[in-house]
């Protein structure tokens, strides 16, 4: 039994933690928020220099040629520091889509540029206020050209390329577009967490390339969502841990009625519940990491479990961190709101908690028996 990361992976995680601390930790997210930026360019350049955008890119395309587990440990540290960079969009989604579904021409053109930072990718799924399904897609491809609107597209302001799922003659396609094409209009959309930027992206006869099989776009995007759910769950766990650590530190230094507030059971039990939620989420993430890295058929179930569990943990830890801080927690000055807002954005970014619970139970419905541990 070895449900743990290797020493090399732990070393990488430690390096990532030190890196984000050294680069300013939460102050980067705060600076992006305070100055209405689209991301922290300097931090992003340094991440590219470290080679992390190429963690999963094979050495033949100038990447590091490592596995998903290395990505998991870096994701946890991105989540802990709330790093305001397009890493998740470009690495968890875009790069994975090219590795899995891109043809040789696309891969040899774009993968090396993702390593060097010349190309930044993102993804588009949502089109309206309702949940996207295979049958309600309105963005359409006709003879390789795309027309329609995607909303809540992360990082489109800094991205050069995008993958998106669109309606096609044969059902749904997964397609690749160059956002620098003149037919594309990108408009910022205000959102709850201004340490991250989201955009409306309009296509008018925009040239595109097919990824994977025509008509299989919905299946392809579901696979990418499952993979990304595990990686985002690690970000959520990192964020949960940071929020719990912050609540703990404050409960030790703040006095009320002549003693540390952390000595009251009302606070202790709150923090214990945060620890319980975090521990369950983390263990579910390990299961997800195993399923992701071993390309297991259990990935859809493991991803949904990690996703739901980590979403609950981060929302609980971030809101109870504010509560532990009392009035201070409600100010702009204290960092509590950074976690609260990021937890909300992460909880809907890949689809709502309810939709992932539905995926989880649909997968349970398909299985006849469950392995008992």
């Amino acid at each position: 039994m070895n449900l743990d990361f290797s020493d090399d992976q732990k070393f990488l995680q430690d390096e990532a933690k030190k890196f984000f601390d050294k680069e300013g930790g939460l102050s980067n997210a705060r600076a992006v928020m305070d100055n209405s930026l689209e991301g922290d360019e300097k931090l992003w350049r340094k991440i590219i220099e470290l080679g992390w955008t190429g963690i999963r890119i094979p050495e033949a395309y100038e990447g590091l040629g490592l596995g998903h587990l290395e990505l998991c440990v870096v994701a946890e540290e991105l989540g802990r520091s709330l790093a305001p960079v397009p890493f998740s969009s470009s690495v968890y989604f875009f790069t994975e889509a090219l590795i899995k579904f891109g043809n040789e021409e696309i891969k040899s053109d774009l993968l090396p540029k993702l390593v060097s930072g010349e190309v930044v990718g993102t993804y588009g799924i949502a089109e309206d206020t309702h949940q996207a399904t295979e049958s309600n897609l309105s963005v359409t491809v006709t003879s390789e050209n795309i027309t329609g609107v995607k909303i809540a597209v992360p990082d489109a302001g800094v991205a050069s390329h995008m993958i998106l799922v669109v309606k096609s003659k044969s059902g749904a396609d997964l397609r690749l577009v160059n956002l620098e094409d003149s037919s594309v209009t990108i408009t910022p959309q205000k959102n709850l967490d201004t340490s991250r930027a989201f955009f409306k992206v309009e296509f008018k006869d925009t040239p595109s390339k097919l990824l994977g099989e025509s008509g299989e776009g919905w299946t392809h995007i579901q696979h990418l969502l499952d993979q990304a759910a595990v990686l985002f769950a690690f970000e959520q766990v990192g964020g949960s841990q940071a929020a719990l650590d912050m609540a703990k530190a404050y409960s030790m230094e703040r006095f009320a009625f002549g003693r540390q507030i952390g000595s009251y059971q009302a606070i202790k039990h709150k923090l214990a519940d945060m620890y319980i939620a975090l521990t369950l989420a983390k263990s579910n993430c390990y299961y997800g990491a195993w399923a992701l890295s071993s390309e297991s058929a259990e990935l859809p179930l493991a991803a949904a479990t990690a996703r739901v569990s980590a979403t609950k943990a981060f929302q609980l830890c971030s809101k109870e961190n504010i509560q532990t801080h009392g009035g201070n927690g409600f100010t702009w000055e204290y960092d509590c709101h950074l976690f609260y807002k990021r937890s909300k954005v992460l909880s809907v970014l890949l689809g709502s908690e309810a939709s992932w619970k539905e995926k989880l139970v649909s997968n349970l419905e398909k299985t006849n028996t469950l392995a008992k541990g």
Binding site: N2, Q265, L271, L280, Y286, L370, G373
Partner: protein, 410 residues
């Protein structure tokens, strides 16, 4: 990451498996066991199985070699436990002795006493119990009031213990009592072992909310009326009772695991098969939401355990993650039992004439006890907050004052 044994672990597992296959029968289903037999039959079968294990060297794996163990590593104990659980063999009788009483005897008893008591304990010839909790001392067990008074070479014990598992069939027990009420709470305690057949000991089974009493490893009240214990049966110094008790409680913490009973598998099977106004319950959105929540908890606990085992497997000290196990599993058990009963609508409350309580009804009846035994939900949250997260202890109203002056009522 993988779920495989190392080559040595696989070898040890094969050895366990080989012996078990030669000496016991595989369970045909998960619910197989000896629950229908009388207490006498169960004890007879359990003692015979323990004797068999003892002769083959499987009875007390973690004990030191000098006392007949094989000094098995934690991972080897886990492997043995996993394999033994697949076989239809009796359990639940010797764990307190081997897990708690044995180690405390090894540490504090004389050589003569060890020679006399340890082997029969390991062989299953003599059964041991633990006498700590009292009617007025549960979570605050150091607040116990049973008295020990010195009389020559003996001590005279008066008082009452409660929640003593297996006292009704035990031969010996370990006991902590108060020899001095004039000093602070933790300082006035002394630790003994006692012959449960001593004059003055009365054992009364506790009728629990399940309506059951004295069956299997049931709970008891134990009354002490002028019970004489020779000073030679004192374990540790006079006044060191709390220190000795803590050692045994640490061993208990290792032993307390998942709440057994209806889990997500059973809820899922029920949801798929049980009809709810024309379609399977699992088609109901509120049921689906509950199943998702329970699966996240059950799966989270399963892989939490795997993380602990992984650390032990590498010879490392596990992290504190296992501290969440009982809180999560006992509460989940209560919810799933409740769900199973509700699924029957008005018939859910009825008890089957032939089969007795269903497993869901049993889970619902038993879960309140599991949320209390071995540390209440509230105490366990304190433990997580104080020992795992490092938060300060509550100020204590009983600190630094003589035990007799500690307030006991408003």
């Amino acid at each position: 990451m993988d779920f495989n044994d190392t080559p040595e672990q696989a070898k040890f597992r094969a050895k366990c498996r080989e012996w078990l296959e030669a000496n016991a029968e595989l369970k045909e289903n998960k619910s197989g066991g000896h629950s229908d037999s009388t207490l006498e039959d169960h004890l007879k079968v359990a003692k015979a199985w323990q004797q068999k294990k003892y002769e083959a060297g499987w009875a007390m794996l973690h004990w030191p070699k000098e006392y007949g163990g094989i000094e098995a590593s934690p991972i080897e104990r886990i492997i043995w436990g996993q394999e033994e659980a697949k076989f239809n063999v009796p359990g639940g009788i010797f764990e307190i002795g081997l897990g708690m009483c044995g180690p405390v005897m090894m540490q504090y008893a004389t050589e003569e006493q060890k020679d006399r008591y340890l082997a029969p304990m390991a062989e299953g010839k003599e059964i041991w119990c633990q006498l700590f909790s009292e009617p007025a001392a549960g979570s605050d067990v150091a607040g116990l009031r049973s008295k020990a008074e010195r009389d020559g070479d003996d001590w005279i014990i008066n008082g009452q213990k409660v929640w003593t598992s297996g006292a009704h069939y035990s031969d010996y027990g370990i006991l902590v009592v108060r020899h001095d009420p004039d000093v602070a709470k933790h300082k006035g305690l002394t630790f003994f072992f006692v012959d449960m057949k001593s004059p003055g000991i009365t054992v009364k089974p506790i009728k629990q909310i399940t309506g059951q009493a004295g069956t299997g490893a049931g709970f008891n009240e134990v009354y002490f009326d002028d019970v004489r214990i020779p000073d030679s049966q004192r374990l540790g110094e006079i006044g060191d009772g709390w220190k000795v008790a803590i050692t045994t409680l640490m061993n208990e913490r290792l032993a307390v695991g998942d709440a057994k009973g209806s889990d997500i598998e059973e809820a899922l099977i029920l949801s798929k098969t049980k009809d709810d106004a024309g379609e399977a319950m699992i088609k109901n959105d509120s049921v689906r939401e509950k199943l998702a929540d329970w699966f996240c908890e059950a799966n989270g606990l399963k892989y939490t355990k795997f993380r602990t085992i992984s650390a032990l497997s590498k010879g490392e000290a596990p992290g504190p993650e296992a501290s969440i196990t009982k809180i999560v599993s006992a509460n989940k058990l209560q919810e799933i039992g409740n769900f199973g009963i509700d699924s029957g609508d008005m018939a859910g409350m009825l008890i089957d004439e032939n089969d007795g309580v269903s497993s869901f009804q049993g889970a619902w009846l038993g879960a309140p006890g599991l949320r209390i035994a071995g540390g209440t939900d509230e105490i366990l949250r304190n433990v997580i907050a104080e020992r795992v997260l490092g938060l300060p202890q509550d100020p204590r109203a009983d600190k630094g004052i003589a035990f007799k002056d500690i307030p006991t009522k408003a």
